[in-house]
Symmetry: D2
Subunit: 365 residues, 4 copies
């Protein structure tokens, strides 16, 4: 089925394979009048760019985005914004061998079973390059949200056994792992060095905090804000778990310590004293920060010897060549932020007809 479109009122459609002519996204439902230029989007793409440290693939991907439609006189027109990044630095030669077998942890086998064959070059549609469209669209979503006073702080929460302890947002961009804790970042680098020495790779956790959410966004049943965030984040390749607020820790908690008491703030507004709920109650934003986490598996492409089966049905041993990230978590940070932002925008747009009184105010000018 058509599985490359996400969202209802704010809708993105991505396309492209790792080693095809390019990758891109059509962003539809963006309001008219948003100032937008290629630099806005390029900044986001650069956050996922590899080759910036030894902990990401040494592949040079000079991904340059081009706006093909939907912007006129420097502003969005309300019509679809088509964004393209042409593939330039792909070495198809590196990948020819993998056509013949199924890499463990990859989608090679399931693609062949579903579609009868696959574009095996660089992972094809299930390559990490598929996220370029998500991030380009995310740049637009974040820009819309910033204009409404909603902001994102997204970072690497843990790598392997190393978890952030002393949170300092100012440090996120200061280390190659996007960790808000200099000491944790150093320990994580040491851990990754050891992984790499063993031709191995590591997983980790990304956390995203969304500030400035209005109260009342999301819906009570299937379109709970947390449900749509879960789908958005779990649709990112390599994500195997999703949490909102206290997440899996609530299983061990009790009502007494998990419930967030309501109190009055200094200015008399209602606020929660704690935020175990992660900013969402009954599927609807409660005005506190939305806090979510994604667990990301270790890069499946490792140089160490692995067992698999080839297309002829023989059991074989393989060593995956090519240029692979020993950890994808730092590069996934901006992807998580993008998907969260796209989801929030759609929820905000879908919420505007929730009340008859504000509807009448909107239309009876």
């Amino acid at each position: 089925m058509a599985g490359s479109t996400f969202g209802t009122i704010f809708k993105i459609t991505t396309w492209g394979e790792s080693h095809g002519k390019g990758v891109g996204v059509v962003v539809d439902g963006c309001p008219a009048g948003l100032p937008l230029c290629e630099e806005d989007i390029q900044k986001f793409l650069d956050r996922r760019k590899p080759g910036q440290s030894k902990y990401t693939t040494p592949r040079k991907e000079d991904d340059t985005v081009e706006i093909l439609s939907g912007v006129f006189d420097g502003k969005t027109t309300g019509t679809p914004i088509s964004l393209v990044v042409y593939n330039k630095n792909q070495h198809s030669g590196d990948y020819s061998e993998i056509a013949s077998y199924y890499r463990p942890g990859h989608a090679d086998y399931t693609f062949d079973m579903k579609y009868g064959f696959r574009d095996y070059r660089g992972g094809g549609r299930s390559s990490g390059r598929e996220t370029i469209g998500r991030v380009a669209a995310g740049a637009i979503a974040v820009k819309i949200l910033n204009q409404l006073g909603i902001t994102f702080t997204t970072y690497t929460k843990s790598i392997g056994p190393i978890t952030v302890k002393n949170f300092d947002a100012s440090q996120i961009a200061e280390n190659p792992l996007n960790m808000p804790d200099t000491e944790a970042a150093e320990n994580a680098q040491a851990y990754l060095d050891a992984c790499m020495a063993e031709l191995n790779s590591s997983g980790g956790v990304v956390e995203c905090i969304i500030c400035g959410m209005p109260v009342g966004i999301g819906d009570p049943v299937f379109e709970k804000l947390n449900a749509n965030l879960a789908k958005a984040i779990m649709s990112i390749g390599a994500v195997k778990g999703f949490e909102i607020g206290d997440g899996f820790d609530v299983a061990k908690a009790t009502g007494k310590n998990n419930n967030d008491a309501f109190r009055l703030s200094a200015n008399g507004s209602i606020e929660k004293v704690t935020n175990h709920a992660g900013g969402i109650l009954g599927g609807i934003s409660d005005g506190s920060d939305i806090i979510l986490r994604a667990s990301i598996k270790p890069t499946p492409s490792i140089a160490a010897t692995q067992q698999t089966v080839n297309k002829s049905g023989d059991e074989i041993d393989i060593n995956i060549k090519g240029r692979h990230d020993p950890i994808i978590v730092p590069r996934a940070v901006v992807v998580v932020e993008s998907m969260a932002a796209i989801t929030i925008v759609d929820a905000l747009f879908s919420n505007m007809s929730a009340r008859m009184d504000s509807l009448a105010t909107f239309y009876r000018k």
Copy 2:
């Protein structure tokens, strides 16, 4: 927005409030020719029925389902199946007080902010009774899947600090907590007794194992099977986390121990030696068991004193009265199974046009 419909080709629409006239669901897109009677659905509803042990609310909910449409001569006709359960045992008097304040951990506050007011009786639309529609639809989904050789094993994995150790599926229905481990169930009951003595409540984890999945179901990008399962499960009230396969443990894993090697089975088919992936690779089912987990928060309605704010803007202390479950995990088991089944059915139906060759076989008879 309209948030009470789930699914694309197999689509369910639920309705109803805790203390309104009833709750129900319209199941649309069910294939014609499935044998179906009310007993098929009642069996599922009985699995979520309260009042069966001291660990669930003593409210007596004699929920009897009625099929209003879509079945003729004992078989589904392909048209929408409307199912209704009339509310009978609701004591509206019990809830009048809560109209005036916002219960911690509930959706009272967010409903009022979103909609301007709320049906406060028994939680209204965000009551646990909202899941009756999901379970009624789930009964149909599971019946469809059983005919295709796909089966479910769903159970309580943990309650508070007590986790299942010696898995024995035959024990799931033999204890009031739906745990596949008699000893763990006994320990969990002791733990719950202590919670109840403190007017407290507990969270837990539900696990669902899906056997017999064909390879190739799900889509590569936004409609990954795990993404849709995540949305389905996270849309259940009280669920705060979702995992597929090794879930959050992958963050601490390495590529060497997280990758599942492919090997040949005794009959020559390709299989994974391990199943860290939980049955899904690149968003597409790989033929192994699908394994998913949901973390469920402690019942927010506790009798212990809590702090909150009332609608007049005063800070107050409250003690929630009424008949509440000290733990909802055992009753949530069938809800998780239902939502998983509904998602799998939709994925199977959406997958049938994936290949030109099987499409031509289907239509060129």
Copy 3:
């Protein structure tokens, strides 16, 4: 597939067969705070009630609507509104014969081919009773629109060869054919008398005029307001053609006489001097009246002898018994109005995020 849901943000899901337990609709996405009671909906259902003149079926259908959810303290809550009409006056005996053959002009044959069998009682799901859910939902949609200053005038434009000449809206409810022209109504009655004498039936045209539309509703490409109105109206059984504005007459027109000049109104606002476009330019409402028409085929159930084939594969002659309308156009008037209103509501709700400036005003209070 699931084909019984219509709309994106304002979404209706209908269910029910002619001779099942009942028919109904779930209306989801209705804003909170709309005053609503059963009488509001009953008034609409009464407009499609048969048995009010000799030109409609003498079947007595005392269709009484019940609100099962979504309304509290006399106002909508923002959650799904479930409406049910139980079937009371169905004579299943009348229809047993038609189980064995395919009625010309009906869906008997296509249902059997698609689903393998059918609920043959009274047409099952393809009975005219299917429109009860549409009309019940339409009552809510019209009530929302009235609060925004948008009103509907819908009527029988023609019956067989008899067309309205002297339009007088006050006459619509004054004759059994819902024609806004007393003389035309009398001529049409004479024409229908002749049809009935020949055991025959007649077609006709329904026209709907929508006043008070804001400018700017609808979208430029696939979600053109006229495209969604076309789908809505063509989804009504028996409708075979749809027009907006001058409709098929534009094929014979020239640019000079079809273009609507813009001029300033007395109060200085921009208006079209003529309205060949029917209130929509480029898929977007232009502030003029929206004018649409539906052509409705003659009732296929006629008492005259017809040729067909039975399920055993024999060619047979049949005479359809039972109580059938010699014309369905007058009863279809409220169905057309309902589907148009549902479409307009969804378009209004989907339009609220079209501009960054009004979005910011809405959310940055």
Copy 4:
């Protein structure tokens, strides 16, 4: 809202403005294994290419399509197919004047009201060039359908007062108006010559016949095949009316002459003796040819003097310059065919789970 995506399982998303960098479409949900190359698509685009006779705009649009993704080794892979046509021959200078006023019959005014401003160059998003994406996607849809034995015959049925009388499909491509009747084509050319001499334009009708449809495609209620065809066709700019089968003529017909009798064909299969229904009964294909028509308004851009209002609020007289088609009907033929084909593909793909027996056959191999 996002209005540039069409379809459910087979889904197209178009983008692009007349004078932006290009126009394109993402086709998602195409089955894997369809042989596809750029020439397949170019052939369709060439059918809408202007400049081929004096009856179309003399603008030279050398529209060359490029496949950016979704095809590997000459076959579709099942992933999104991104198609782009770069704009090359646009003269922005021609259009600068129209920025200041609202052209009658165009979307200038409604765009400004909806979005606050517009890309006025060449009509921007509401230009006829928007249909390039539809036609490129249509080429793929038709290719899929041809493999299933479904074929299209689409042509100009009438131009102004001139209607096809002696149908001869072989003539469609033999005259610049795409009429299947040489004599009618000659008369229509004379009529158009007269229109052009008066700086005027003409409307017309396109008819599309779809042969080889399986029985049972489409759904009974809102997703009637005719309803989706209506939306598809009415979403094409300039279309003001839609008919299926006898269309508006049914309003004047009686049951006796409008019902299609069923009889047995020579080979014993069931068939309709006539086809007033246009191949669809109760929203579901009946195996006869599907016959549909679209009425298309005269080109609104005419050189004759017209009255309008400018953005400063002055009433002015204008003469539209630039290179415009005196009739768009012949170029619309392939657009109607494309939208019909896209709709039929989606209906076929959505129908595969209609029956439990064929579902089980499909999955229990």
